[in-house]
Symmetry: C2
Subunit: 328 residues, 2 copies
Amino acid sequence: MKDVAARAGVGLKTVSRVVNGEPGVTPDTERRVQEAIDALGFRRNDSARVLRKGRTASIGLVLEDLADPFYGPLSRAVEEVARAHGALLINGSSAEDPAREQELVLALCARRVDGLVVIPAGDDHRYLEPEIKAGVATVFVDRPAGRIDADAVMSDSYGGARSGVAHLIAHGHRRIGFIGDQPRIHTAAERLRGYRAAMEDAGLPVDSSWVSLGSTDPVRVRDAAAAILDGPSPVTAFFAGNNRVTVTLVRVLAERRRRVALVGFDDFELADLLDPGVTVIAQDSAQLGRTAAERLFRRLDGGRSGTERSVLPTRLIARGSGELRPEG
Amino acid sequence: MKDVAARAGVGLKTVSRVVNGEPGVTPDTERRVQEAIDALGFRRNDSARVLRKGRTASIGLVLEDLADPFYGPLSRAVEEVARAHGALLINGSSAEDPAREQELVLALCARRVDGLVVIPAGDDHRYLEPEIKAGVATVFVDRPAGRIDADAVMSDSYGGARSGVAHLIAHGHRRIGFIGDQPRIHTAAERLRGYRAAMEDAGLPVDSSWVSLGSTDPVRVRDAAAAILDGPSPVTAFFAGNNRVTVTLVRVLAERRRRVALVGFDDFELADLLDPGVTVIAQDSAQLGRTAAERLFRRLDGGRSGTERSVLPTRLIARGSGELRPEG
């Protein structure tokens, strides 16, 4: 609105009058204001809406990885909520790089989104403070914000992993491996904590060679699994830290003669049609997206209460791979 | 740049001098220009780059469905190429709605992306002509533009489907069903054309009850498959028009006693680990994205030759489901 006023060489009040169709503006001034609006690249209808509410009717979603199917239902749910509120959704992906996340978030703010749903890659979000103060509503999803106070919607990674590992223990396993994502990622650290808690609950020691955290690249996961299975103290079961790890472990275990049990964090397509079916700790990624987006629009509609952190429950789905008994 | 000049109350030349650090500007004017740049919401470093090249170093990608895994590798490939060119990628999804596609494309243009990669939902893109004339480079991918002349990168849907159906015929099938996406979608129509050509090549009639086009919603596909399998002239094999249809057909066929052969267009994760493995016509979705994005950056770098339409080959991957012989 300020840009329009500056370009048309009139005051803010005049722009507001033109946009709202109020009297007291000469035809010449009206024309100049309209030309400024057009020149600044907004559609005529949108511009009126933007100027009236001080909003652009668009929100941004910063994802972690465009190719991870976990984020598909989450993105679609955010989009559906945005659509129901008459807003466009614009996304970008950080590719799990904190610098890229910051660049992308600020680029979206510079393009004047009203709000942001962020799956953070980094753990220091103080760079967002000026934007939040300037009125950009922000909700974090899947992982919390770092070093700022902000709304967050997450799954119960700790509790889910703990119950998944307890399920393996209940089926007779004593030597259980954990392969997860990079330890600086909040969900990876929480799931490892859940694994350790379940082992401790059962009085079972954890051999340090059984735990491997790092990239979810198939080659890395394959090497980690081989090292654990071919080492001096092989496990009889694995807990996989997310769907990318699980899918690679399904392949690795299918190639081995000895059957190794498996429970994975995250459900994934066709898990039930594999042989054995893959037992998972399912999180509702669509519900994560929906909850985060609805929180965002409540903030945009003037909700001013303190920040909230919501933790959604997970659900164990037994399909066979997690119910295999230890062999050998 | 014009906005900065207007806001600072100086000429374009002066803004250019400040940005490029040239002499002949008073400290007071320089301060005003810098304030205008800051106020317009650009980061300092970016703003220099934008103003120098007249570019924002960002490109837009308009997808069809955020939750379809086919688009994951395509999006990631576009992002990698953008990154290699120092540009940010911003996406949005049309949810297969032509009006939504247009709204999103124009919203990205209003936010001044340098170029667009578009997977079109609609078949009339004349609304894009003013933007293309104004310098927004545009490349269509997966499906061609409608009613405008524009670059396009696609897979060989016709040839791929034809070879997939010929593969089923070579394994003894005479009654083959086709379940595909909505007929107004270019790839769906092309794949149906390939199916009909293969049947005709073999001198086989096509019963109209064997062909079903429509939404890829699992319920719709399931009903279509049941109608074909339980009708008066049941098929012994299916050709599935895309990965969403294939995945539902895998479920439907797993529930039936009689084994029905299946070849699907698009490869998908874990297709090889199912029993039987799923034979597919694979397209290289990452290569589609990469080719389209590289074409876009060539255009941005001043490539002025006529528009090109590239068709990438598909590849048949035999895994078992397409090699089943007819039963009964």
